[in-house]
Every structure is written in C-alpha cells, then in structure tokens.
Symmetry: C2
Subunit: 196 residues, 2 copies
Amino acid sequence: MKYPNGKRLNTSQNTMQAKMGSVFSNRGMTLEDDINATNKFYLESNKAIIHKKPTPVQIVKVNYPKRSAAVITEAYFKQASTTDYNGVYRNKYIDFEAKETKNKTLFPLANVHEHQMEHMKSVTDHGGICFLIIRFSMYNETYLLEAENLFYYWREKLSGGKKSIPYSDIAKKGYLIPFHYQARIDYLATIDKLYF
Amino acid sequence: MKYPNGKRLNTSQNTMQAKMGSVFSNRGMTLEDDINATNKFYLESNKAIIHKKPTPVQIVKVNYPKRSAAVITEAYFKQASTTDYNGVYRNKYIDFEAKETKNKTLFPLANVHEHQMEHMKSVTDHGGICFLIIRFSMYNETYLLEAENLFYYWREKLSGGKKSIPYSDIAKKGYLIPFHYQARIDYLATIDKLYF
C-alpha cells in the first residue's frame, strides 16, 4: 500500500485514536458517515465545497394536508446515474463515489453501475478529478483509487476478464487514507499530493 | 439587455421556432424542462457534464414487499442547501440555480434561500463558475446573471435595502440566452464568452 507521504500511521496516532473511544473512532461508523463528517469539516474550515447528492427518488404520490407540510406517500428509489459526491476544490471539479465492502480479497465491480462508470469516464475527459473511495471494512482500511484504475479493470471485465479488483491491487495502486480526528477520511490530502 | 455576441434573435430564427410548433417551442415548457433538455444535449454531444441534483427528500418509512421494489410510504421535502445544477465544463467547475418568475418588474430575492446564497459565495471563492438562470415567463426571456450580481443585491437587502432585483437591472447586467432548437437554453455559449 502507498501512503502519499510514504509513512504509515505512527503508534502515538493509533494510541490517541484508541483513547478517544467510540465517539471519535470510526468503529461502527459507515464510510458514508465518515465522508459526510469530512466534507462538513472541509466546508466549515473553508477548504473545499463538496456535498453528497440527495438519494434519487421517483415521487409518485404527494398529499397536501391543510396547515402542515406536504407528505410524499408513494415513492421509489431510482438508480443513480452519476456518482454520489461532487464539488470544487482549488479551482478543480472533484467527483467521486464511495463504496464499502466486507469482502477480504477483492472489490466486486458489480458495486459500480455502468452509468456511473460512463459518468466517471466523461468527468475525467472534461478535466475533472475523479476517483473511488473504497473501504475494506474487515481490515478497516480506506483507499483512494484514481478512476483510471477503475476503467482498466472495467475494460478487462468487458473483454471477458474477472469481475472484480483484487484487494492486493487496490493496496498497491491505491492510496491508503489514514483516519484523522477532524477530517476523518482526509482524501484531499491525497489529492493534494497527486494533482497539485 | 446584453447578448454575449451583441445580436438579437433574428427574424428567420423566430419564424423557424414558430413553425416547429408545440413540441419544439418552449411555450408551456418549464425552465427546468428546458435546462434538463439542454444538459442532455450537452451530455450526448460530449460538450459538458452537468446534471440536476435529485430533489432532497427526508425518508421516514419504507416498506419492503416480497418480490417487488421497496416503496417509500412516508417522506418529506427538505430545503436544498446547495444549488440545483452542477458539473464540469472545459476543466472548470460549473454551479448554478435556475428560477422562473411571473413577476414583470422584479425578481424577488426570497426565491433564493440563504443557504444557497452562502453556497454560491463559497463556490465562487473556490474558483468555480457560478451563476443564476432567471426566466421572466411573462416575457419569455431567460437571463444568465453572474453570481457576483446576486451577492451585491443580497448585501443591499441585508443592510435594509430592497428585497428584489429590478427587471431592468437584470436586463442590463445579465445576458439574454436565446432559445435554440437543440440546446434550448444554451447557457454555455454565454459562459464561453465570459470565462474562456
């Protein structure tokens, strides 16, 4: 695995995290929770403007009761045609998808829909910074994987190759994102090293 | 009113639009319909990757019937904390809000929420291209107004000034977007002149 700064988490950091207990450690927090907290920190510290898009929902029926808010009484989840997160950082368009897997040996490509893959390809073509954040929850490891790597494995899959990315490849080609107290999943530190 | 290219719609264009009838004219189409169609055209012609964000919904109850899709049976509309549209164009982050008004003399600032205003300010600070698309539906005129203008009137409002932008100011400081057959509201043509 590659850290952008070439270092592993040092022992004092690990100890500090352990001392913080359940509130500040990321045990039991989903990747989405961690990324939302990170984006909130970025926003409040005026580092970047990155938001999660709302869940796409097909609204079918809405009631408008008198003197109270409209209630949606029938709606369905729609498949997302883009990625979950986007925004602006250092004049650049940022776009990414976050995925968590319990698998210990591989990341299944079925986790990313074809529409999302096409979207990521287009974003890259138009000069956006595009990547995947993948958490292997059994190892509690979170990686940033540049979209180009994903395209490579997607092409392999389309030409009859395997339908997943081996964990070992992600650990080699991706960048481990260390867990921090404030910016829990400080992916922009990795982006700084890679693009600026 | 300013056209970026200094020209008004010529007569043959107007006549052509009239001939196209109800399907292709924008009569009866909402601004949102027109912008969605424009973004679809941009996407398919690989000009830009700009999407409308899904409507933010607070989901309260979901049923999971056997052998069919999950049904959301109770949900509420949430106020948007960002703008409706964003994406990437010519390596730049693009972010805008679209508003339609039936008012003939002014655009009420109440149409833009404080959160959205703060978001637009932040986007501008971080190097994104940020603007408002305003349609005066009684005139069937659609303007692009750079976010900086909006901030000016917002500050005026906060310091006790008027709570709207006069139509005449929008016609002067904004850029009229001509109606086109394919890119119905071709706002990127204006962005090209202003930023590239």
